[in-house]
Symmetry: C2
Subunit: 222 residues, 2 copies
């Protein structure tokens, strides 16, 4: 009985996610779902990406948080259209929330939609939003054992970004063991090592993002 | 309809939590529910506490994780009875899981039960386990804005432990602003600043724990 209810929720979410995806594709928008623990650096990655791609791509942001507009305020200060979703206790974004947010963004003026999910390494994995790519962010101070402890999130990620790499000499984190652990659950995931603070490694991330943007644009032209 | 189901789940959990509490009280056991984001240092705090209190108190540990026995293995190596609960996707511990774990521990040989919840800053807040105290752990790299963004967890905490304080000169974290933010949502919470790595600040934490142990023992003697 309990499982049946969950299946119903998921299929309703899947249907809404597919609608979102169609709307995004029709407008040639690349949508990225960024997921991580609280404080791993999702907003910092978004702000760095805005800073580097401003003028080259039209960016919009959807911010998901249990409460507050702290992150949306930072994005707005960067001069980028942003919608804040407050889940009021909910531990993940869902496709219906994204659907509502899309209706309040100017889609024809958007190339790249960055969606910051609620800070949580478990629940967001179960809910498609209609995104093209799932990006899983982990920060060095969280520890290299996380792919073993939170396998669902790492299994689904298209890209794993390892942030706060500038702290590598100060915290216990075995980067090689982490790569092995990620590859063990997800052979296809790309892994980028970055520091949003120092800027280290951001070029590879931006290069990947630009390639994905080019693909979406090429498809939209057909 | 959806809200009704949630209320049913919570009241069933509350009833089971009350049973756990009675069983703990009857055996003079202090139970602490330790909650945090992934990688904030719950296991490190438990291992440090074991190291400092071994011989002075009889400790047992319940480890909650989505998957793996990584943390339980560490506790077992320290020579302490430990039960691993794998939630298999579940984002928090529930009272029925603790009830089962208690039945496999030797309660008459236990003074202090440390329960490590699933790494998650949202979901565990909604589920009582029967614990006497809720300890909320935050680590410096997560950022000082977390009480605003995850208010439920901070509102319910009896104790807030700020870990990885040894990184204070290396990460952007305003300790005074954090104290203000915690006090803003929870005037009664005690706040300890510690580093499980350097050992800094652990004495205050242990002193509080010893006081609580003395209270439970005094009650059990009556």
């Amino acid at each position: 009985m309990e499982i049946k209810v969950l299946q119903d929720i998921l299929s309703a979410n899947e249907a809404l996610a597919r609608n979102n995806r169609k709307l995004l594709d029709a407008n040639g928008i690349l949508a990225i779902n960024i997921m991580s623990s609280p404080g791993a650096g999702k907003t910092s990655l978004i702000l760095k990406t805005i800073n580097k791609l401003k003028g080259k791509a039209q960016i919009a942001v959807i911010e998901g948080d249990v409460a507050s507009t702290i992150d949306a305020d930072k994005v707005q200060k960067a001069g980028i259209p942003v919608v804040q979703i407050n889940t009021e206790g909910g531990c993940h974004l869902e496709a219906n929330m994204i659907s509502k947010a899309l209706s309040s963004l100017s889609l024809k003026d958007t190339d790249l939609l960055l969606i910051e999910n609620v800070g949580n390494l478990i629940c967001p994995a179960g809910f498609a939003l209609g995104e093209h790519k799932k990006v899983m962010l982990l920060s060095l101070p969280e520890g290299d054992d996380k792919p073993h402890k939170y396998p669902a999130m790492f299994t689904q990620a298209d890209v794993v970004v390892l942030n706060k790499i500038d702290l590598r000499s100060l915290v216990d984190f075995d980067v090689a063991a982490f790569h092995q652990a990620v590859t063990g659950v997800n052979i296809k995931a790309k892994i980028f090592e970055i520091s949003c603070k120092s800027g280290e490694g951001l070029e590879e991330w931006l290069s990947w993002l630009n390639d994905e943007l080019a693909l979406i644009r090429a498809k939209a032209r057909k």
